[in-house]
């Protein structure tokens, strides 16, 4: 809408099919260029998705009801861009980074666009660069304190080539749109830098030196992830699961507990009430790592399922751009997107309206490429100044009919390294989180880099213990199948033991009560304690006179261990349960035949 370009192309609406509008352009335009359709004085934002001669096919980010052929269209000369600067944290945005809180009225008004950043607010700026410094895109010029997080003011990512710092403003209070530095390019042309820069969301920000393989565990406090299938700083993972299997609860647990500096949550085509839960809870809940409010480290991007479909795609790209922005400042960013299937469906709707030849399940043919390019934007990076930053990205997938062979799940599986499969069967028997211990995996567990850090930070035996636990689960499943086929009394007692050992691991380590104040989050140190204890009980040579004795014994063991999970770590109560357990195991060892 601005006058940033003198010779803007204009056009006229020629056709309307739902949110696909065909524009007769009176001049050149670019693929993915943003344009505005003027309808009764309201400006509707749209993006070019196909060009055919003078016809631009544009997807409108708003409802097209009442739109008529002949309406004026103004092209902007740029792709979908967002403003980046201090003040992104603690905000609630829509998919195009309009600030939802500054919109008027109860209902979203078509064509109401609000500023991403509050330019009235002043920030305490501290320079970190000095005149004469040689800089390139992404280099730090200074910083402001944003909710206790060092928000670096960087050389805008759009600036190509080398620059010399001419001047940097002195420490003081500035508005985000005030100049804070002057740079000279190779031709001695002066460029003024403010705290705000703009970036086209569909392009990855690559202002870093290199992207090494990740090697550090990202603690989430969710035992079945941290212990069995660890996520790493800069890693990628996804959570597919049928509805009702607990995707959202799990993702919210991760968002609350993960050891991250910044959390960017993209609610993409999901339920509004879930977003409201974040809006209401995050300003109240404490970040377990800093003691500050969770909202202070979080940005929420809400394109709920009833908001315009075209903006769903924009929402995940906007979120990734914010994540990349903070990673360039040297922060550990966690990005979550719920659910990437809705984004894929938005692509499908549009592909269908454009009458493209469909791929599997009517999804566009290039879906796997789009998904994998997107996941590739995550990662652990070494910045140009030697500092490091990371984006850990976990997306959820909502497979149609719970079938993991559908196109979105398959495409995502190829693009990610951690697979947290939620099982309907586990969810039905209320074994939450319903992450299937057999099907799920973390490729990172095989990384020697990670094994080395685990050995140093947890214990040298850790990877071995984890693999032992996985083996117990696998053998337990096999034993259960044998018992089901042959019957309780037709198999040896060993089968029952194997099965019940896996039940202990399942009940105590895998299952976790996300709604219990203590059990919801288990720090790594406590996980280590429980793993040691579990393996001690499981490896103890216990004797049983018959299979009838096995179940009651292990049920009691499970009960005590669960009570421990509900108790404050190493509290009196916790240790009392531990003592009782040791006694029970010792007694059972004594009766060995």
């Amino acid at each position: 809408m601005s006058n940033e370009q003198e010779n803007r192309t204009t056009g006229k609406v020629n056709g309307i099919i739902a949110n696909l509008v065909i524009v007769q352009a009176e001049g050149p335009f670019a693929q993915n260029e943003i344009c505005y359709i003027v309808h009764n004085g309201v400006w509707l934002m749209a993006e070019v998705i196909k060009a055919q001669g003078e016809l631009a096919y544009v997807q409108v980010f708003e409802s097209t009801r009442g739109l008529k052929p002949g309406s004026t269209v103004e092209f902007t000369g740029h792709m979908l861009e967002v403003s980046l600067g201090p003040g992104l944290l603690s905000r609630n945005y829509d998919g195009l980074l309009n600030d939802l809180d500054t919109m008027t009225g109860i209902f979203l008004k078509r064509g109401e666009y609000t500023a991403t950043l509050n330019t009235k607010k002043k920030w305490d700026f501290k320079p970190t660069a000095k005149p004469g410094d040689q800089v390139t895109a992404g280099d730090w010029l200074g910083e402001v304190d944003e909710n206790g997080i060092a928000h670096r003011i960087m050389v805008p990512f759009k600036m190509e080539g080398n620059y010399t710092v001419k001047s940097v403003s002195q420490a003081g209070s500035y508005s985000p749109d005030e100049p804070i530095a002057r740079l000279l390019d190779e031709n001695d042309e002066q460029i003024v830098v403010t705290m705000i820069q703009r970036w086209p969301v569909k392009k990855a920000i690559k202002a870093y030196r290199n992207k090494p393989r990740p090697f550090k565990l990202l603690e989430t406090g969710v035992r079945t992830i941290d212990t069995l299938n660890p996520m790493v700083e800069g890693g990628t993972g996804f959570i597919p699961g049928p509805f009702g299997s607990g995707k959202t609860v799990l993702q919210q647990a991760i968002s609350k507990q993960a050891e991250a500096d910044i959390v960017v949550m993209a609610a993409c085509g999901e339920r509004a009430n879930e977003v409201v839960e974040l809006f209401k809870e995050f300003p109240e809940l404490e970040d377990p790592w800093t003691g500050r409010k969770l909202m202070e480290r979080t940005t929420i991007i809400a394109n709920t399922s009833n908001m315009p479909v075209a903006a769903r795609e924009a929402s995940v790209y906007s979120a990734m751009t914010i994540a990349e922005y903070y990673r360039s400042m040297g922060h550990k960013v966690l990005m979550l997107a719920d659910s990437t299937s809705r984004w894929a469906q938005a692509l499908r709707e549009m592909s269908n309206r454009m009458e493209e030849l469909p791929g599997p399940d009517a999804f566009p043919m290039d879906l796997p490429a789009i998904v994998s390019n997107f996941y590739a934007r995550a990662g652990y990076v070494v910045l140009n100044n030697g500092e490091t930053g990371s984006i850990t990205f976990i997306g959820t997938v909502s497979p149609a009919g719970g079938n993991l062979k559908e196109p979105v799940t398959e495409a995502t599986k190829k693009a990610t390294r951690c697979f947290y499969a939620l099982s309907q069967q586990r969810a039905d028997s209320k074994r939450y989180p319903a992450i299937d211990p057999i099907d799920s995996y973390s490729k990172y567990l095989e990384y020697p880099e990670l094994q080395k850090t685990l050995a140093e930070t947890i214990s040298p035996a850790w990877t071995g213990q984890v693999n032992q636990l996985k083996n117990i689960m696998l053998r337990g499943k096999e034993a259960a199948e044998q018992i089901n086929i042959l019957g309780d009394d037709s198999v040896s007692v060993d089968y029952h033991l194997t099965f019940w050992k896996s039940e202990v691991v399942d009940a105590v380590l895998l299952q976790q009560d996300a709604f219990d104040a203590i059990d919801a989050r288990t720090p790594l140190q406590r996980q280590r304690y429980m793993v040691d204890l579990l393996l001690k009980i499981i490896n103890a040579p216990l004797g049983f006179d018959g299979f009838e004795e096995v179940q009651p014994f292990y049920k009691k063991i499970i009960d005590k261990l669960r009570q421990m999970n509900y108790s404050e770590f190493e509290s009196e109560q916790f240790l009392a349960f531990r003592k009782e357990l040791d006694r029970m195991v010792a007694e059972r060892t004594a009766v060995e035949v």
Partner: protein
Amino acid sequence: METKALQRIYTKIGQITKATCTLRATDVGYEELATVDGRPAQVVKIVGDNVTLQIFSGTEGIRTDAEVVFAGKPPTLKVGDELAGRFFNSFGDPIDGGPQIEGEEREIGGPSVNPVRRQQPSELIATGIAGIDLNNTLVTGQKIPFFADPDQPFNQVMAMVALRAEADKIILGGMGLTNDDYLFFKDIFENAGALHRIISFVNTTEDPPVERLLVPDMALTAAEYFAVDKKEKVLVLLTDMTLFADALSIVSNRMDQIPSKDSMPGSLYSDLARLYEKAVQFGDGGSITIIAVTTLSGGDITHAIPDNTGYITEGQLFLRRDTEIGKVVIDPFRSLSRLKQLVIGKKTRADHPQVMNAAIRLYADAANARTKLENGFDLTEYDKRTLDFAKEYAEKLLAIDVNMGTTEMLDTAWALFAKYFSPEEVAVKKELVEEYWK
């Protein structure tokens, strides 16, 4: 729709298909209403000056020189307090012989609520049915469907829930309702003396199926009027959403769209979400709660309609006939209320969450024992106890004919635990066992 001055009338139709006709017309808005030979139609596509109209009742007998009149506006509903107690068709016209509504005319299918203007739902809806209140507690502002096979009494259960819930207005959106069911709703609301707070938009099986696409929007536009303007607690009943989705697929098929899973349009998720997301809790007390019905084919929830619905709604209530007790129960395994966490143990007694989970876990053990039994294996003593427990649990708590308060439900569950199990087997927090085990 009576013809007004200045309305543009066309009499030359270029193309007619089973459901649409295309003609040359100018200054037509997208989604605008029109009539073709008196039949209601809506603009679904504009390319240049070629306008494609979808004729709701089909194109049988439409002549190429039929009179086409554009209304200059999308579908609307006149809202006002007089809506209460009335019955309307898919177009919002009265079908009960009463007068037209005088009131403000509003476009149906209006914009979404800004998510930051929503409140977190927190008010429990008591239904007296333990399968709901104990295991799948409902909250105002929630959207939840019954998943049921066509032979199950879903409309009866839904009507019962509606009447027991303390709603200021109940709005029924009937899609493809049989005449018998339409009369059932009319009678039960009348007999309960509740007609003055009921508004119905009904498309029966006798009406053209495509018309029912307008029903949910009509019902929800009325709901928004009462929830926003009048700050009332509104309960919207939508039955049967499977028939609504079928109508979507008919339209998409006639528009030559490429079908996705189960012949449904690729936009099914968005089409359904747009409606269900109208469920909302406002800060000033107004709310819209949606209870819907999605009929299944042979209990198959992987079909595109229940599947997409499940991803949109905040849980589902799964009806199943329990052969052990010969009654319809709310299946504790397949049912879920996602918003129950906001009220259980907070608005109800503190032991609610743990008791609920423990009972379901034991019921699952019984299901395993039953499988063993069916496979001809001997049961352990524990297995036998779980089976006895399961039967009594189904009878006393899961069956849909139960009617009691939540505290009584919890006490009933504790009594069953004590009757059949030891505290270790029930495995709930020690403090709770100490307080409630009898």
